[in-house]
Symmetry: C2
Subunit: 263 residues, 2 copies
């Protein structure tokens, strides 16, 4: 089976992804982001997305209750249902789910984000968490009956409350739980780049044991992304293809190994 993660950037050609998906016979789970939709909505509502950098150098979105409302609107609402609509219009029988639905993705609430504030370290508490498990029977029920689950945040914490989570961590939890052999990640770049400024510098193959070095050299959101990749590929994880989501056939190209293959 196949997991396809669709990045949340505005330039991702979701219709092209769905066209490619309609031509596949493999069981597939879609996971999607919606950061462009979220940021646009946050801006229109004058509730700008707050990003914090932890003491250890990882950035993440600070998720207060308002931010969870936004997440529900932009991720589980607008983007999820527009993707499901594109699927349904092309004969792909999609069912959109957040991690809350049937506790599709169960998580553990974070104790807090350690941030530096002047000379002090503060613990910021928010509604964020890490996936700890997946409702495999629910996903199998859907997959075995011909449905394509389309998953996004929020996920459920221990008490069933909504928490934000990194989509890359969700993909890792899904891949492990479903025994998935192949993961495609569609982003707004042609793959992992040796030189971030040069889109021609795609590295065609990366070994999982090289990811620690990539993580060390990275900054900001990308550092978090590589950390997620490292978790995903650890201990005989799936083959991962990171490919350009902006072309006319993003998924077909990725499955033809155009991009960066991590194996």
């Amino acid at each position: 089976m196949l997991i396809v993660k669709i990045g949340g950037g505005a330039a991702i050609n979701v219709a092209g992804v769905v066209d490619d998906l309609a031509a596949l016979s493999e069981q597939t789970v879609l996971v999607h982001g919606a950061n462009a939709a979220r940021d646009r909505l946050a801006c229109a509502l004058s509730r700008p997305t707050r990003v914090v950098t932890s003491a250890s150098g990882y950035t993440s979105v600070f998720s207060d209750d308002d931010a969870i409302d936004l997440l529900m609107m932009a991720y589980a609402g607008l983007r999820n249902k527009r993707i499901v609509e594109l699927c349904q219009a092309r004969g792909v029988n999609a069912v959109g789910l957040s991690g809350l639905d049937g506790r599709a993705v169960q998580g553990r609430r974070n104790s807090g984000i350690r941030v530096r504030d002047g000379g002090k370290t503060l613990l910021l508490r928010d509604n964020s968490g890490k996936p700890t498990g997946v409702n495999v029977p629910l996903l199998r029920l859907l997959l075995d009956n011909g449905y394509v689950p389309v998953l996004t945040v929020p996920i459920a914490d221990e008490d069933g409350r909504a928490v934000n989570s990194e989509n890359d961590d969700i993909v890792a939890a899904l891949a492990r739980a479903l025994g998935c052999g192949r993961v495609v990640q569609l982003i707004e770049a042609p793959g992992l780049l040796a030189d971030p400024a040069d889109p021609k510098s795609v590295v065609p193959r990366v070994r999982p044991d090289e990811l620690a070095g990539w993580e060390e050299r990275s900054e900001g959101r990308f550092k978090r992304k590589v950390a997620g990749l490292r978790k995903l590929c650890a201990d005989g994880g799936p083959e991962v293809v990171i490919a350009d989501g902006r072309g006319p056939h993003p998924l077909a190209d990725a499955l033809a190994a155009r991009g960066t293959v991590i194996a």
Copy 2:
């Protein structure tokens, strides 16, 4: 089995409904509105909800593409996921679905709304439609595996595109398709009122054949609501209880026939 329709008003005690639901053993489908959340969002985004009155005197929301975006955010996003969260936090294994998901609710796009404009009749086309069928196997799959489907708009048109639809029509389609014997509708009033200005004037019992008279005497949104009730109760439809959604135990009270029983 039981269908519970939760109105979209801000005063509905959803937590109380879910508490009551947690104590039931009957298979249940929730259907919910979100007009308060939608109107609040529309206002914050300066995209006021446009309501049109048809030449025959029925009002409805005019659903352009922007309005469908709002619907996805407020209904399928914010309100649906907050209800699912409340359910999950109280041990009710809810799965939120729009009518698009797995084409849970299949519809037919309206040809247009006939409106009077000065002396002329215009045909306004928008993204709205009427339910024509329900994906019974999907709902049964969820119900028989212990899940509580939580349904809302949009629904799917013939081509799988999102269209808005009256929740009352969706409830009628569900009740028919699932062979449901009892429908509870929770609203921001104690039931059907003999005098709309007097909340003490609840009519405890109404026969289905009396609804045509109620429809004739009604105006605005309420006229549409009674039309939906008439459809729901036609041809040996379910027993319907219309009850107050604002109390501490809205569902338990409704099941104890506090409100208006149409049978």
